[in-house]
Structures are given as C-alpha cells and as structure tokens.
Symmetry: C2
C-alpha cells in the first residue's frame, strides 16, 4: 500500500497524530508477553487495539487490570474464563471484560487470532511494544 506509514516510524503509535494513522499488520513488530503469544498493538490516545495471535494451547495466565477489555475472535477458537465463568469462543464471538475482573485464556486446537481493545491504553503493553519497536 503506497504511502502507508511504517510502524518503526510512527505507524502504530499515534500519541501526537492529528491526522489518521494507517497501519498494516505485517509492518507492526510483535512483542511476546508469554510463550506462544504475539501481540501487535495500535495505540491511540484513549484506546489500544491489539492483534493477539496465540498458538494452539497457548495460555494467558489468570490476571486482572483496571482497563476495560473488549475482544473479537477473528480466526480459530479460545477458551476464556472470566470471574470463574468459562466459555469456548469461536469466530464471530465477542467478549467484554469489565474492570478488575480476573480472567484467563487458552487457545484452541488451531490457535486463535483476537482483535482486543483496552480502555484506557494498557500501559504495560505499550511499554513492552515500544521497547521492541524502538519508539
């Protein structure tokens, strides 16, 4: 795509943008918070949306955070447990995790690709990504 801003320049991090930010996933360097998990964030002012790719069986250990979290399954499947309630989610499913609820996830047999948004920006992810991206 001619004219796409590359992630290493300003692509996925728009802290000072007053124009649109255009991002191509293949140009966003991933960071890995746990084995078998790769996260590619797009960082706005009030929100962060991440492509989260998990290999089959990869695990996001139980945790919680103040950020509200809303995710959509776009490939594969995942089993989520939120506040003790477990669901298997497939393509076309979404989930909303309110602030401070404990949750964990396990990718299905074919792995999973999620599009997850955090409000406000999840700063530990932004910091981890900026360290990788050299921003």
């Amino acid at each position: 795509m001619s004219g796409t801003v590359k992630a290493g320049e300003a692509g996925a991090d728009s802290r000072s943008a007053e124009s649109a930010t255009w991002v191509r996933r293949s140009e966003v360097p991933p960071f890995s918070p746990a084995p078998g998990i790769q996260i590619q964030p797009v960082i706005g002012k009030s929100l962060m949306t991440c492509w989260i790719a998990m290999e089959p069986g990869a695990v996001v250990a139980e945790h919680s955070h103040a950020n509200e979290q809303l995710g959509v399954v776009v490939e594969g499947s995942v089993t989520l447990t939120v506040a003790g309630v477990t669901r298997e989610l497939v393509v076309g499913d979404a989930y909303l995790v309110p602030s401070d609820l404990t949750h964990k996830g396990v990718a299905g047999a074919d792995g999973v690709l999620l599009v997850e948004t955090f409000v406000p920006v999840r700063e530990e992810y932004a910091k981890a990504w900026r360290a990788i991206a050299g921003e």
Copy 2:
C-alpha cells in the same frame, strides 16, 4: 454455545454488568445507518466495538465526531478518506481516526467487514441499536 446470553436480553449491552458479557454475532440484531451497511454493536462502559458489514460499493458519507475511532479490516476491502487523505485498506490493515477529523468510506468490490471501536461510546449508534434490539 450453551449459556450464551442473547442480545435481546442483555448480551450486547453491558451497562450494568459486573460479570463478563458474551456475545455471538449472529444473535446481535443489526441496525442500518445507510443503504448496504449493517452495524452490530457490543457496548461497554467506556467503549463500543461494532461489526460493520458493508456491501460492495456501499458508502459512509463524510462526517466527523468527537469519538476516537480505531478500526481493523477483517474481510474484504474498503477505501477510506480521512482529512483529505485516501487509502485502500485490505484484511490485516487498521486505521486510527482522531477526534473530530472528517472521514468517509466506500466498500470494495467484495464488500468489507470491519471491527471498529469508538471511545467514548458513540451514543447515536447505541440509541439506534437499542431501538432495534428493544432494549
């Protein structure tokens, strides 16, 4: 998926939820803001994420809003113009539209499916959807 909350009950609108909200796209009634466009929202406290399906050539006319907007292309293609800059986006592309920038969109030859998030909740969409969903 056993136990999925249906949209007509509380599924896609979590204003009072202190547990997770689980949403299956096929259970969320769409509303149509313009010809050839169907929107299925999932509404949180601080954010709204929508599946936006546009038929080939469908048009979102130029507009702007205070809500920050971050979208991901998950099927098809779309041509977006933001503040006078035009890009054709395909699967794996994302875009961030800061507050109050004018933007418009035209779906590609095979249509497009977007996953778009608005912060704060885009109230005119929430109102339109609640009118359809009977909430």
